[in-house]
């Protein structure tokens, strides 16, 4: 039987709700971290003012179902589906939900043809926009996670090929530390600091960048299981904040809220380090389907 004829639940409306939540309601763990940061900034400073405005904006967006940020970003879906679900149908449903979300202004029309500069108007570009990663799972639960990653922070992401002599960065964790700190300094406030760093070590150029984003699907404060990497995550957050860039680059103590590292396999010849910078508007939400029940996080 062709895939499109396999009977499967239509989740278009549930995915639409997932998009609305992701765009307008910041996850509680991110909001908590931002609230904690306020106390670190001097009363009356521009840094503290920026964080206060950010928190007001978070409340307002949630109350009115309006986008937290007007740049509703690249929609990145991660789908884990039980055996028997059709990814062809799920993809069609995600695309239909995305077009409807744009019509309802949960999303800004954000897909621009790079050759002809035309905005498609509905957030549907070629096969790659929205970006969807499917992974079959042995679980009986279907999960759809969505992250919206704005262009400002995407533009300050960096990839290094080690050794990087200008920074004295060799092919080891000491070298990784150096290039990540360099990426934070170069980003200044342009990625809408305070941000969260997704770092991948290894891979090829493509997989390295993809994994540096996928690691951002985990919760704030999640540490790598490898104690060496967990220690480096904490050290990078601490040292980034010593640079005094601060919220929006106004100067201050809060530049990076958290760092997440993932280690990959690499070729003997290659040693890539990719840094994905996520702005404070760290929009990620999850939808779980179990039997007839639909649960939003």
């Amino acid at each position: 039987m062709p895939a499109l004829e396999v009977p499967m639940r239509d989740l278009t409306n549930e995915i639409l709700e997932l998009i609305r939540r992701t765009s307008s309601s910041l996850p509680p763990d991110v909001e908590k971290r931002l609230r904690e940061s306020i106390e670190k900034e001097e009363p009356g400073s521009a840094a503290r003012g920026a964080l206060e405005t950010i928190l007001k904006n978070i409340d307002l967006s949630r109350a009115n179902s309006t986008p937290i940020c007007q740049d509703t970003g690249t929609p990145i879906f991660q789908v884990h589906y039980p055996v028997g679900w059709s990814t062809i149908q799920l993809k069609a449903q995600i695309r239909a939900a995305m077009a409807e979300a744009t019509k309802r202004s949960y999303m800004r029309p954000n897909a621009v043809d790079a050759i002809y500069d035309k905005n498609t108007g509905n957030n549907l570009g070629g096969d790659d926009f929205p970006y969807i990663h499917f992974e079959e799972t042995e679980s009986d639960e279907l999960t759809i996670e969505l992250m919206l990653k704005g262009g400002g922070c995407e533009n300050v992401g960096r990839q290094y090929s080690l050794p990087e002599n200008s920074l004295g960065a060799g092919r080891d964790l000491a070298g990784v530390r150096k290039v990540v700190l360099d990426a934070v300094q170069k980003a200044q406030g342009q990625g809408c600091a305070p941000g969260v760093l997704g770092v991948s070590i290894g891979g090829d150029r493509g997989s390295s960048y993809i994994k540096s984003k996928e690691v951002l699907f985990s919760e704030m404060g999640t540490r790598n299981e490898d104690p060496k990497l967990a220690e480096l995550e904490e050290r990078l957050t601490k040292e980034s904040n010593e640079m005094g860039i601060g919220p929006m680059g106004f100067g201050g103590k809060t530049t990076v809220l958290d760092t997440k590292i993932v280690g990959l396999s690499r070729l003997p010849a290659s040693y890539f380090v990719s840094v994905s910078y996520m702005c404070w508007a760290y929009r990620r939400r999850k939808l779980t389907v179990k039997d007839d029940e639909v649960i939003y996080d």
Binding site: A46, G49, A50, T53, I54, K56, N57, L60, S61, N64, T66, P67, I68, C69, Q70, D71, T72, S105, M107, R108, P109, N110, V112, D117, K118, N119, G121, G150, G151, G152, N155, L167, G168, D172, L173, A174, R177, K178, L181, D182, Q185, Q188, G189, Q190, C192, E239, E242, M243, G244, I245, G246, M248, G249, F250, G251, C279, W280, A281
Partner: protein, 208 residues
């Protein structure tokens, strides 16, 4: 907090210094990547022939931008079908992408201020001294909050650029910003960049 209303006088601009918090009211025009490239290519460097309604829009823009402000913003807008436009999310976009164009646009149209985020470079800073003008930093990502200060959308030019890139003519009331580049050569961004680079250099010297 200082208050300014567009159109702004040179005197009011020279009075603004890095670090000042300001509430802006009055008319302004949004413009970002496509708009800046279009203005430079078509009317300033003239490497591109005017097409469609270009010349008509140019005449309108000359009047609207004189003494006014360009806002680097790609909004989320409702009422597109009925043209009863409303901004529902309208924070600043990253300004540095307009660095090649901004100073020339400011001088050509006598634009007194630019609102954006992330700051701009040496060429724009020089433009701020010559025009004179200032760079106002809005809070990036605070889109729902800032949209509430947009009291009226008066119209839109160049819709063919797409909703985010079109030039929206808006009226704002007490739009909150911080001056991070002034008309006296001061730039908060240059200061923070230098200071953080020094710390980075120290960190790079530390053993692992």
């Amino acid at each position: 907090m200082k208050q300014i209303t567009t159109p702004v006088s040179d005197e009011a601009i020279r009075d603004l210094k890095v670090g000042d918090t300001v509430a802006i009211s009055g008319m302004m025009v949004t413009g970002r990547d496509a708009a800046h490239k279009w203005m430079i290519d078509t009317f300033i460097k003239k490497t591109r022939q005017p097409q469609g309604d270009d010349l008509q829009v140019y005449e309108e823009l000359k009047k609207l931008l004189k003494g006014s402000i360009i806002y680097h913003c790609g909004p989320v807008v409702t009422g597109l079908d009925t043209k009863d436009y409303k901004f529902i999310a309208a924070g600043p976009t990253t300004s540095i992408r307009e660095e090649p164009y901004q100073a020339d646009v400011m001088k050509h149209f006598n634009v007194k201020g630019v609102i954006g985020k992330g700051g701009m470079g040496a060429k724009t800073l020089k433009g701020c001294q010559e025009t004179p003008g200032v760079y106002f930093h809005a809070i990036g990502g605070a889109a729902s909050f800032l949209a509430q200060t947009v009291t009226k959308v008066h119209g839109v030019f160049k819709m063919e650029f797409g909703v985010p890139e079109a030039m929206w003519l808006i009226e704002v009331k007490e739009f909150p910003v911080v001056v991070t580049m002034d008309s006296h050569g001061g730039s908060q961004h240059a200061v923070i960049d230098d200071a953080s680079k020094k710390v980075l250099d120290e960190l790079l010297e530390k053993p692992y």
